[in-house]
Symmetry: C2
Subunit: 344 residues, 2 copies
DNA sequence: GTTAGCACTCATTAATCTTGAGTGCTAATT
DNA sequence: AATTAGCACTCAAGATTAATGAGTGCTAAC
């Protein structure tokens, strides 16, 4: 199944052209292109071969050709022209990191926004996996007689907080003691293990030192029972509405509804190893995404993968550009975060 | 411009019917309705009058009638049948508050989701105005030699946090002293005034007690320069896609893009006094919302307004139901929050 | 191996027709 | 005087038909 150079050229031009115009590409228009000096008849012959091999398709008997999924796949794997980021693109990406005071969520959200602006597709960023972060400090701050807020800080600087009702009969001193014990014992424990640990290691200590041991344990266990899932950040959800392949309302509705299924999206994106991944059409294993491609990248701290960035667009996506953008952003995010957190 | 009872009845039935079916209402179908025992001809006469008065309109010369904006306005002001929440609705709303540990954002987000599920419209909830909350406590937690996280807790239990680079030459003791001074001086100050206050009242004290006074002041001033805007929570954005009045793609796109303009939405919703407000079509002063109605309610702590809840739907909205739902949710949210925060 | 030429296909658009729900008006009825 | 039946008229929406043109496959000549 080896393609001749001429076939490769024609395939590449067809894909490029279709990505640009969203219109089926005909033999005549191809023959007029710079870089191709063949008659339309010759091209028709080659296109017939390419179709037989499954790389391109017709939308109806007498239409021009459109890349098939296999065609896109081949294009992505072998025919991508590597680079086309402008200086402008690059400086916009870098502007994400301009501020000195970091609010991590803002950076992530900004990344998503800028990515969707630059590409006109939908961007999805999966926040860091907080639940594997290690506890640095617990603090309890009473607001009034009955209410207090509990604050959990991780080694990465992530802050979780919960409002809770103070058990009515609790001593201020006991509360402080308990917090001290917790900090002493739970420092460095991943958030997801806190609930376990508090029963296994802290319960006993509490019993020895605290008056109302039972109530206190229960209160804190409640607080620590936190199913922390990574937050998802979207931007440019509406960009899909402008893509000509989605002029069908029911398609749009299905797609939008699917995008709003956060857990589902989250799963797809999370379970990717480091590096760039391209899923084309049905490779996404979802009927609704048959006309979509999803390109994912990851960002890390040092060598440890932290979260993911993704772009969702039509299969007729500007693969080359999107991949370059994701590579750049992934690299920059990783660099900034690594610098920030490395030396713990 | 007084309407006869019969005209009121007919207007009400037309609006109710159109809200249900989205189809222009004809004289014949009206005459067949229970509660109306008039011939179609009579109804045609009455409808002609109602049209002359501006309460209903035709979509074309020989079509049935559709409520005009004025018609909806009259309907909302005078003809609403008050109640139609089922026990089911009520218990779903109350399920929002089932959990004991409060993460305020989750409650708000859940409110939005449930509201949009119950109504099939888009719901928008404006989070509490944090910037008027008063500072309760500042804490600095160093993560490593170079980075620390600053935590600000308000009297309402809201927690803000910022990651920042520690000035390289800073003493641990000085840092602690500074934080103490800040807590001493800034307790009870609304967040929005912090930046002012630090220059006016804290700067001098710092100079007296702290070594590297200049650097420290600058660092904290940076941290406190926080433009905290209320967060917006959306749910059911896609519900609009299912409304028959929006089968037009460009309309949908405009609407969706508008919804994504968070500041704009935020302004509209924020500037409402307590109670329920109904804005119909062009009353929203925005071309894109000419076919939409926006119903807003507020939630409070005690007497003080805290935030807003809104439902965005087509002008052909189930006003009665939506208003009842918003009233209920507003009441419950206020009750829960008041109980939680009242006694500061 | 390449190209010109020709018959054929089919999506798209515009033009025409048909149908039916609904109206306004007038004259008859209550 | 209010109500209703009857009739002519209007217009959106859907179906049918026709015209156009971009594009193809195939064959025969180069």
């Amino acid at each position: 199944m080896l393609l001749t150079d001429r076939q490769l050229l024609i395939l590449q031009v067809i894909v490029d052209d279709f990505i640009r115009s969203a219109q089926p590409v005909g033999s005549r228009s191809l023959s007029k292109k710079d870089g191709i000096s063949l008659s339309s008849a010759t091209i028709r012959n080659e296109m017939a071969d390419l179709e037989e091999l499954g790389f391109i398709e017709k939308t109806h008997t007498s239409s021009g050709r459109v890349p098939s999924e296999k065609g896109y796949r081949y294009y992505v794997d072998h025919l991508l022209s590597p680079q086309d980021l402008t200086q402008h693109d690059i400086s916009i990406i870098q502007s994400i990191f301009a501020e000195k005071i970091f609010e991590f969520e803002k950076i992530i959200q900004r990344s998503a926004s800028i990515l969707s602006e630059l590409t006109n597709y939908t961007s999805i960023v999966l926040g860091p996996a907080v639940s594997v972060n290690k506890l640095k400090k617990i603090q309890i701050i009473p607001l009034n007689k009955e209410t207090a807020v509990a604050i959990f800080v991780t080694d990465t600087g992530h802050v979780e907080n919960r409002l809770f009702s103070l058990p009515p009969s609790v001593h201020a001193g006991d509360l402080e003691k308990t917090v001290n014990i917790l900090n002493d014992r739970l420092n460095g424990v991943p958030l997801e293990d806190l609930n376990d640990k508090i029963y296994k290691e802290v319960a006993m200590l509490l019993r020895q030192h605290i008056h109302n041991y039972d109530l206190m344990l229960h209160t804190f266990a409640q607080l620590l029972k936190m199913p922390i899932t990574e937050k998802l950040f979207f931007a440019g959800k509406t960009n899909m509405l402008s893509q000509p392949e989605f002029h069908d309302l029911t398609k749009i509705r299905d797609l939008m509804t699917m995008i709003d299924q956060e857990e589902w999206i989250s799963n797809i994106i999370r379970n990717n190893s480091k590096g760039i991944h391209v899923k084309i059409g049905s490779e996404n294993n979802n009927k609704i995404m048959d006309d979509c491609s999803l390109i994912t990248a990851t960002y890390s701290v040092g060598e440890e993968k932290l979260g993911s960035i993704a772009i969702l667009g039509p299969t007729r996506m500007e693969y080359s550009r999107v991949i370059s953008l994701l590579q750049l952003l992934s690299k920059d995010l990783t660099a900034v975060l690594t610098k920030l957190y490395q030396n713990n």
